[in-house]
């Protein structure tokens, strides 16, 4: 056993611990901002695991897309919807947590049993190592060309869909009849539409003496 092998194993242990503790923190921490930053840490540790698996290109893609894009997007969403609200208590919440925890533990046990009892066909063919990026490029432009092009269409659709969903839609004229929309309705869209407390009366403005 060489020093390189033991270093690899120690790196695997450290990265696994970072991934698992970070994931627990993401799920369990009460402050959502801490969860979001821990999620970035989990993504980085997963990129490290990919480096251990001889996949430098996918590790770089993971860092750029997950840490650089998805995590920043989540942080922006937290900033946009960050409202201190006291959650109403639900009857049977503890029972629900215990039951779902039991189901997840059972699923974990099943997966681990499959993991440790299946006779994997090891060792497989030798790894291409540093040639992985070239091999991925060959795949993307030969036998995976159609999914590659479909992925570009999917990204375009997701971009347009996100813009349409997230913008505050106010038309200056009715789409069907072409008549103009009065400004009162435009102002009304600034307030939430489906609030339960929608029925209560508007506060009466106090008269200035």
């Amino acid at each position: 056993m060489s020093i390189a092998d033991s270093t690899q194993f120690l790196c695997f242990l450290a990265l696994s611990a970072a991934v698992l503790l970070g994931a627990l923190g993401v799920v369990l921490l009460p402050n959502i901002v801490y969860s979001a930053f821990l999620l970035g840490g989990v993504f980085l540790a997963v990129a490290g695991l990919y480096l251990l698996l001889n996949a430098s290109f996918v590790a770089a893609a993971q860092m750029m897309i997950y840490v650089g894009a998805v995590n920043v997007l989540i942080l922006f969403a937290i900033m946009l919807v960050n409202k201190k609200e006291t959650l109403a208590a639900i009857p049977g919440l503890a029972l629900r947590r215990i039951l779902s925890g039991a189901v997840c533990a059972g699923l974990l046990g099943l997966l681990l049993r499959v993991d440790f009892t299946t006779p994997w066909a090891l060792p497989g063919p030798a790894s291409v190592g540093e040639g992985a990026t070239i091999r991925i490029g060959e795949h993307l432009f030969s036998d995976y060309l159609l999914p590659f092009e479909l992925a570009s269409v999917l990204l375009l659709m997701a971009m347009i869909g996100a813009i349409v969903l997230a913008r505050r839609d106010v038309f200056s004229s009715d789409v069907i009849t072409g008549e103009g929309v009065d400004q009162g309705l435009i102002e009304k869209t600034r307030t939430p539409l489906l609030l339960e407390k929608n029925l209560q009366t508007q506060p009466v403005l106090e008269k200035t003496p």
């Binding site: 056993m1 060489s2 092998d5 690899q8 194993f9 695997f12 698992l20 994931a23 993401v26 799920v27 969860s35 979001a36 999620l39 989990v42 993504f43 997963v46 695991l49 698996l53 290109f57 893609a61 993971q62 897309i65 997950y66 998805v70 997007l73 969403a77 937290i78 919807v81 609200e85 959650l87 109403a88 639900i90 947590r97 779902s100 997840c104 533990a105 699923l107 993991d115 090891l122 497989g124 063919p125 030798a126 790894s127 291409v128 991925i136 795949h139 999914p147 992925a151 999917l154 990204l155 659709m157 997701a158 869909g161 996100a162 813009i163 969903l165 997230a166 505050r168 939430p192 539409l193």
Partner: protein
């Protein structure tokens, strides 16, 4: 190297495939638990990302250990990352729209379609 026999006693020679699969399984189950039990809608999206990362670790481990020449698992991982980015964008846009309409991010109050 006086340290080498000690390390050989305590550590396996290489990282086994089962280790990566076990990490992926724990990550996936953590994500499932968070998905069921989170009351903040943003945390639900984060749990989905955790589950996707668990699946990606599985694909990468199999690609490296069992398919070393044609690394098809890595190509699949790249596609999964692409779809996850699209899913995050659309999911957060839906979340913003919901927050605008209901003025809350509590999952228990998104019950317009509850039977």
């Amino acid at each position: 190297m006086s340290l080498s026999p000690l390390l050989a006693l305590t550590l396996p020679t290489t990282v086994p495939l089962q280790g990566f699969l076990a990490v992926a399984a724990v990550l996936f189950c953590t994500g499932v638990w968070g998905l069921i039990n989170s009351r903040n809608a943003v945390r639900v999206l984060m749990s989905i990302e955790l589950m996707l990362n668990g699946v990606n670790i599985n694909l990468m481990a199999f690609s490296s250990y069992l398919d070393g020449q044609l690394i098809r698992g890595q190509v699949f991982t790249i596609f999964v990352i692409t779809v996850a980015a699209a899913e995050a964008a659309v999911g957060l846009a839906i979340l913003l729209s919901l927050y605008r309409n209901r003025d809350t991010v509590d999952m228990e109050r998104f019950n317009l379609l509850r039977w």
